[in-house]
Symmetry: C2
Subunit: 580 residues, 2 copies
Amino acid sequence: MEKHALKRLIRVASAAEPADLLIRNCRIVNVFTHRVKEGDIAICDGVIAGIGRYPDGQRVYDAGGRYALPGLIDSHIHIESSFLTPEQFGRVAVPHGTTTVIADPHEIVNVCGTMGLDYMLRAAERTALDVRYMIPSCVPCTEWEDSGAVVRAEQMRAYARHPGVGGIGEMMDSVGVLSGDDVVLDKLIMASEERIPVDGHAPSLDGSSLMGYLAAGIRTDHECGSIHQMRERLDGGMYVQLRYGSACRELPMLLEGLDEYAARRCLLCSDDRQSVDLLTHGDIDDLLRVCVCCGVDPITAVQMATLNAAECYGLTDRGAIAPHRRADIVLADDLSDFHITAVWIGGELVAEDGRYLLPLTREDPGPVANSMHVADFSPERLRLRLTSDRVHVIDVRPDTVVTGCGIARIDRDENGTLLYHALDDVARISVIERHHHTGKVANALIRGYGIRRGAIALTVGHDSHNILVVGVSEDEMAFAVEQLIDQRGGIVVTLDHTVLECLPLPIAGLMSDCPAEQVRDRLHRVERCAIEQLGVREALDPIVTLCFMSLPVIPELKLTDRGLFDVTHQRFLSIEAEEE
Amino acid sequence: MEKHALKRLIRVASAAEPADLLIRNCRIVNVFTHRVKEGDIAICDGVIAGIGRYPDGQRVYDAGGRYALPGLIDSHIHIESSFLTPEQFGRVAVPHGTTTVIADPHEIVNVCGTMGLDYMLRAAERTALDVRYMIPSCVPCTEWEDSGAVVRAEQMRAYARHPGVGGIGEMMDSVGVLSGDDVVLDKLIMASEERIPVDGHAPSLDGSSLMGYLAAGIRTDHECGSIHQMRERLDGGMYVQLRYGSACRELPMLLEGLDEYAARRCLLCSDDRQSVDLLTHGDIDDLLRVCVCCGVDPITAVQMATLNAAECYGLTDRGAIAPHRRADIVLADDLSDFHITAVWIGGELVAEDGRYLLPLTREDPGPVANSMHVADFSPERLRLRLTSDRVHVIDVRPDTVVTGCGIARIDRDENGTLLYHALDDVARISVIERHHHTGKVANALIRGYGIRRGAIALTVGHDSHNILVVGVSEDEMAFAVEQLIDQRGGIVVTLDHTVLECLPLPIAGLMSDCPAEQVRDRLHRVERCAIEQLGVREALDPIVTLCFMSLPVIPELKLTDRGLFDVTHQRFLSIEAEEE
């Protein structure tokens, strides 16, 4: 801060000079003392100068007695999972009161490397939302697949002091941490040297394994599956992120374990949020509603979404309505519905009555708009010639991304080609490497997905985001892949060599450049079409289910571009099963 | 941390390798969840690797079921006020469980400038106690006196990243802050640029003045005089330091205002602690006892003295017994008496059963050992020739450092010299500049101190620490001053040109180089002698009373080397009072 600015801030605070903006007549929610006080908020150069009673401001906004909350913070999100650009995500999230997100661009960096991070940093400058990126720590995510990039500690270090960077993203490789893998440890040491926090991801770790993970300096976890796990992590000094997004929703269950002590160490996060949820239910405001519904004191809920997150990430300039902090302020009608009527970020009114007020501009995605680098694709590459009737199949289960490692008896023709029978519900699934023209293609079988005809292909496949395609006919699947390559990624649903529906995601094959409403509508049509035209089981989310079919860190059986992977035993498996 | 060290830490945590040290059989106090769990603490390279059950350690310490607490943190202290060197202070404080102090070397820097800070930093390396210095922000303290040094923002900046420095010391000049004084603002901006915290000192500030002070980015206050003030500061986002030292003890009163929310924003501090208190009552362990006596939950008390302080000062490496944090650990018999039986700092056993275990070495004070730079002193310089019988006197009051601005009728001889009458109890007081041979001497009158004969002279006089002398005879006072100069500062009590008792403080005229027990005993003899031989009122602390006679920021009337200062009206006053 320049001296003249500090001087003015002090003068405004001490009522010696009118504020730039005076938000008058608020019920100010204090997250330090949990008191609610009627008063005004005096703002100067985007910073809160003082709270109390002030005579005047150059501009005055009458809050009409509404509650003033600190700007809400999503403590962990992958923006890419909304299929929206940061600009579009901000446009929709900000009117819901979200003013800061701690975002891990894990997906795009796994596709495009640091070019992806560069793009996300540039794009974030075009939204009022303050996006603090955590540098993805697991690129590639595993050694069992081909991602688009390899990012090591020294490349990460180059971003450590970038003003848009808040730390190191979720360390998923707990095996690497515990075994002292050099590549992993270099990243942790870099973070320690640069004094930036490291986010965790520690599903089911406990006892001395959890201790080993904590000893590495990892400080957060958003993967608590039980109150016991939550307490164990809190005991160990971790901040626990209570998650309620489009994919996973442990928040209500974990709130049972929230006491006055845990209330200071828990944060709120979405992890993933799809545009339909964002547009229908809102963002962190929705989590506040869930908290209150579950009986949490509303100011405790707000505190978790503001002060706690700010403290966890060292953002001492926000998280509360107090002097010398950024004027990130949200007005809400009440403390139960949390209907947000106005949002200021850095003192600027950026949303009112659900509308985003800033002009929307679009960052040119540049090189990340062309992420389809597939070698020599032809229908022949999908050819699967089975040498046994007894095969391993990926068993799809509703409501979970965990799959089963099943065994099925199938019919095949004289060439070994699968003969599809609707009753068996065993279909074809393939993964095609798309980043470096390696030409790798892996073919396998999937059971329980329900697809009877046509094909679905997509470029969103955690975490390497190669092309994944399902169908019952190699020809149709190849057509879908070709169409997908033509549209530079996204999702296509085809039938009889015709594209029925599609959602192009030209930015890294992960994000649309369209408005959130269009993305929502097209995705909805894609999903309905998959179910209604192709026969995908109604009980499944047709797209999310496929997005996780390639993720070799989630049990039991997955398909990467290198083949069928048995996650439980950490080894590749042939499709043909041994005879009993 | 080196990679091999991190690798080992993780292996020890996950029980793949024995710890360097295993503290076995503890009741581990968890300041995050407030749970107490029986278990072991595994330590590796001075860092806590894990807590739980561990099979073995290269060394094993059996805690015998005692409570293991995180090392205690004094969040605000002036070590000089103990008259002890950092080495000696550490020797006595550490066995009481204090492992970190946030120390403001305000006194020595006002005498010796940054040379004083250099000495304190060097000396702190010779104690196990981790001393984090706050760079004094007010040197000189006021413009109404001559201190030994002037330290501006740019000199302070040179220390901002020193590993022994934690931020900027208490900003006492609230008037300068609120008026936007350039010299003051430069320091605040420097702190903001260097991202280091600024401590506060805001007695009685409220309303928009408090807002102005907070807007400047100042984050702590240890001067709360009421629960109302405490709440106002907590509301504003300040950390409140609950004080219980040798001089001021608001802790029990303020604990009435401690609720579950304030419990996260309050810290414990002593501000000043004399050796007699340190040796008799202890250090922060004593504050824990006071808290528990006042009905505070013992783990909340521990949390205030550990985690809260660590969070406030950004010391993420300590404040809790948790993996990846420094092994600063204290064993206590129980959670009521907090009798400390063992202390580890950075994994090293540094105290046991009240004994400090490390060899005691002494930092050479070098240039700060010679701080007496008095020009042309002679008895004549103390000559006071009164031109009126009606005079202003400094009225001493018991139990407070606030003085009255009194008016007295005195007797004087034909030369205008005061004729002392025991019944009036008006004595002589003088301040002699001692830093830069300026030759400045100011003479005045003091009432209610009780001195009847002899003289007391000392070099500890907040905050400029010039020589202060009281007595009833100019000759005797001059003798005392000469003796004080000869002993290079400290305290002398003389009678009939004989030194009755003395406490030499050769280090900057502020600190002894003797053990704490000797300092305590000599100070005790000085005090008794002042009362018993010289007649100083029993109700007063004879030395502390004098130490604050020169401090021109405490009302109402004080004497600096420039003259009698009316603090209330911020102006110098002649001794002669106007006739009514």
